[in-house]
Each structure stands twice: as structure tokens, then as C-alpha cells.
Amino acid sequence: MSPVLSAKSLSKHFDGVVAAEAVTIAVAAGERVGLIGSNGAGKTTFVNLITGYLKPDAGAIELDGRDVTALGPREIERLGVARSFQIPQLCAEMNVLDNILVAAACGGEALSFWQPAHTAQTRERALALLERFALGAHAERRVAELPGGIRKLLDIAMSLTRRPRLLLLDEPTSGVSVEEKFPMMETVMAAIAGETHSEGTAVLFVEHDMEIVTRYASRVVAFYSGRVLADGAPATVLADADVRRHVTGGQI
């Protein structure tokens, strides 16, 4: 079986800064991959490359064995890849429900000129998704008025409207207090399981908290200055001497 995602020696430099260098990662359906690495290690760049926002200087990206290196975010989304953002990307003036409706409409076949965005059916589906994220109570609230944690969850919920085959979460728990991190991750993972594909959505999540990584990842990839430092089972990677020196700094 070919992997859902196969990144082959991706490189990306910004004016001499190495953001990715020969990054090779394959992800199979249903895998839960934790991406770790200090700030500036190239985790977001990797997500940007996979989703077509950035073009690699060298290397190739395949989805289900198909070369998608030249495609943009929209085409890649259409192939079943969704992402959330380190800084939530929402429509702040709209309410929570409308944000979900926007996401659902964008992912649909063709945008209708006359079919109402709000129908009993679209609302019901959107509310069900919001419930999975425990956001039902905020449905009618304007996004700009909501706290960061809620926005973070909404950002992730929007990326799930189309039941992606590959989901990339860029620091889903950043900006959230330590006590809230676990419940939040619990909610997100349960919601993903609820919206999942039969063969299982592959999830890549960027995370700084090693306890969360060990709890939710079946595999860990450690980045250091654009390179993959280690890739394997959580226990193995976190015990790696290089990872301890450059990434976790002796944590755990």
C-alpha cells in the first residue's frame, strides 16, 4: 500500500536560512505523527510545503503516489489534505457557525449562486461538528469576541468539515494554559476520530509538550534546522542523544 503522504528530500531556503533540507517523510493512513523541534526548526515550513503554500527548491511531494509538488493549497485541499494554523485563520467578524458554514461551502462541489448557505441541513451538520469540539454553546458568538483557546478549536474544526485523509495541525495547543492542553488535545483527537475516514485519517501534529506527544503520537519526527534529526517510535526518538541535545533539552 502506498503511503498517504510521501515527502521526498524536500529543501527550502530563505536567503541563506535553511528551513528544510533533504526532508524525507512518509506517512501511512491512520498514523498519528508528532512533529517536534525548537522554534525555527522548520516545522511550519514543512506544513506549508505539504499544503502547497510554499514551493520546495528541490524534492517532490506525493499524495497516494501522485506527484502534487506543483499544486497550490486549493488543489491539494481537494485531494483530501487539510490543515489548521499556528495562528488561527478565521473570519473574525462572522459568528462561529458561519465560519463552519464557510468551510463546508468552500469544500463543496461548486459554490451555488442561489442555494442558501443556511438551511436546516447545513446548520444541523455544522452544529454537530461544533458539538464534537464542545463549541456548540458558542455557535452564535462573533469570533472576534472569543478567547484564544476557542478560536484554536474552531480553526481545527474548520479543517475537518471535509473529512480529510491527511490532517496537519500546526501547534494545536499553543497559547493554551498547561492545564487546558490535555483536555484540548483529548477533544481534538476524539473529534478527529468521529469525523474520520474508514481507513483512518492520518494526523501530523506539531507539538512542544513532550507529555502530549508521548500520549497522542504513534510516531515522532524531530526537526532541527530544517533537517530530520530522528524519526520513529516516541520512546526511541525522545531517548535519542541528538534529540535530547537539540530539541527536548533534557526534558523527560
Binding site: T51, E77, A82, Q89, V102, A105, G107, L111
Partner: protein, 305 residues
């Protein structure tokens, strides 16, 4: 959607009845307010996607000249047909630029549309076949195969404007409420996210531009039928400026605001131009400043759906 149609049709009927009671000057004023209002409705539609055109005079003129020429040269005289033809002509004329313009935002979009309208203005002034800077006259249209009697012309032209703008407004409201309409609002706020969610921002913006062109062209046709005379000024930047004025006054929340604001403008124009002909634009400017200060989302935000 059903509610929108019923609401729209009821309003049209109310205006048709009310028209019977209005004096002649007010009938004409309302006709022009409806014709110009539908052009501004096009700008409102664009504003929902986050852009403002400073060149809707372009489509206004395209629709007006097309209707006048169809009537004078080809003998097409039916008012409703001419309105639709005006809209279609404006779409045809702007279609080659739609995808290009859809990539621009803010002041760049505004200036490019302004430039296009001024190019058309320059061409029209130079075209002797179209009467140059004097323009030319168009005879009164017919309605459903019937000639319009002199005594009734004011009311019939008003009714045509009411029915045509009523239909276009119902269409606009349905569009605003559609999934595409909602995505337009999302583009205004976060284009990047919309692309990431799988929709083409460029395609939505290009379609909006063409829809606005249709509204502008239809408005131009309605205006020329009421005025009976067309000239290059239809495409001049001050004309475009008035449409923007009305759209900003209206705000992007709804459809009716555009007509309310357009009516206000026609009223101010007709009174001030007789009392202080040289300073009436200043009065408009001050009024706009007050609106922007106290109703940043436009007068339309006062009308709750």
C-alpha cells in the same frame, strides 16, 4: 428564499400602488433613484467581497449606450428587454478584464476600474458616430409591445424601473444569502483561509465583478430610458463617484440600503442644485462624513431584516 421572493414582490406591488399617488417630479426622482441604486447595489455586491469599484460608470455607460443603440439602430424597443440587454452588454464588455481585475484589491482594484471607465469616456467623447461629447437621444421605449402614452409615460417608466430593480434586488438578496455569497464575505476577511478550504478566490471575485457589471448595465439602460438622452458623462469619474457614495452610505449589509441611499442622493441633488448649485457636492460630502462617523456599516445597517 421563498420569504425573500414574497417580501420583494410585496414591496414592488406597494411601490407600484404608491406611484399612482406621487407627483410627476417625485416619480421621475424615484425612477432615477431606482436606476442609479441598482448600479450602487453592484458596488455593494463587490464590497461584500472586500473591493470597491471606482469605475462603475463604465458599466453604467455600456448598458446605457447599448440600450440606446439597440433602440435607435435595431428597433428593439421593449423596456424590459432593453434593461436585460443593457446588463448583458456591460457583462460582455467587462468580461475580458474580469479575471485580471479579480487579482487586485483595495486601491489597485479601485484605480484600475477607474482607469477603464475613463478610457471608455475618452473613446465615447471622440466617437462622432455616437454623438461625441453631446451624446444622442433615444425615443421612448415600449412595454410588452404597447406604446406608452404621453400622459402615462412618467408612471410607466417608474413602474418599469420598480419591477426591474425589484427583480434584480430579489436576485441580489438570494445571492447574498447563498453559499457563494457567504464565501464572498469570508474572502473579505480571510482570503488565505478560503483558498486553503478549497474554493477559488479569483473565481468568486471575477464572478462578483461580472454580476456587478450586469447590475450596472441594467441600471444604465433604466436611466437612459427615463432620461431619453445619453452622453459620455455616464462613464465620467464623478458619475462613478456618486455610485460609490451611495454604496458607502448604504453599507454592505443589505439590498434595500442601496435604494434608500440612492433616494437620499437624488433628493439632495434635486433640492440643493436649485438652491445652492455650486456647493451641493459639499453638502453631500459632509453628509457622508457624518454617516461614516456614526454608522460605519452604512445606513443599511439601520434596516434590520
Amino acid at each position: 428564499m421563498k420569504r425573500t421572493v414574497w417580501f420583494g414582490v410585496s414591496l414592488v406591488v406597494i411601490f407600484l400602488i404608491a406611484g399612482l399617488l406621487l407627483p410627476k417630479w417625485l416619480l421621475f426622482l424615484c425612477t432615477m433613484a431606482a436606476a442609479n441604486g441598482v448600479v450602487s447595489l453592484g458596488i455593494v455586491l463587490l464590497m461584500r467581497g472586500g473591493v470597491v469599484s471606482f469605475g462603475q460608470g463604465l458599466v453604467f455607460a455600456a448598458g446605457g449606450y447599448a440600450a440606446a443603440l439597440l433602440s435607435n439602430k435595431l428597433g428593439v424597443t421593449d423596456a424590459l428587454l432593453l434593461t436585460a440587454a443593457g446588463g448583458a452588454a456591460a457583462v460582455l464588455m467587462t468580461a475580458p478584464f474580469a479575471v485580471l481585475l479579480a487579482r487586485y484589491r483595495g486601491i489597485f482594484f479601485a484605480m484600475l476600474t477607474l482607469a477603464l471607465s475613463m478610457v471608455l469616456y475618452g473613446v465615447l467623447v471622440k466617437m462622432d458616430a455616437l454623438g461625441g461629447s453631446d451624446g444622442f437621444t433615444m425615443s421612448r421605449p415600449t412595454l410588452l409591445g404597447m406604446k406608452i402614452a404621453d400622459a402615462w409615460s412618467g408612471y410607466v417608466l417608474y413602474s418599469i424601473a420598480v419591477v426591474a430593480t425589484g427583480l434584480l434586488s430579489i436576485g441580489a438578496r438570494i445571492y447574498f444569502d447563498s453559499s457563494r455569497g457567504l464565501v464572498s464575505l469570508a474572502i473579505r476577511e480571510n482570503e488565505l483561509r478560503v483558498e486553503y478550504l478549497g474554493a477559488s478566490v479569483t473565481r468568486v471575485m471575477a464572478a462578483n465583478f461580472l454580476l456587478a457589471a450586469f447590475l450596472g448595465g441594467a441600471g444604465g439602460a433604466l436611466a437612459i430610458m427615463a432620461l431619453g438622452h445619453i452622453e459620455p458623462n455616464f462613464s465620467y469619474w464623478t458619475t462613478s463617484g456618486e455610485f460609490v457614495f451611495v454604496a458607502i452610505l448604504a453599507g454592505h449589509t443589505g439590498v434595500l440600503g442601496a435604494f434608500a441611499a440612492s433616494f437620499v442622493l437624488e433628493l439632495v441633488r434635486s433640492f440643493s442644485s436649485s438652491y445652492f448649485p455650486n456647493t451641493w457636492q459639499m453638502a453631500l460630502g459632509i453628509f457622508l462624513l457624518i454617516v461614516i462617523r456614526f454608522f460605519p456599516r452604512g445606513l443599511g445597517s439601520l434596516i434590520k431584516k
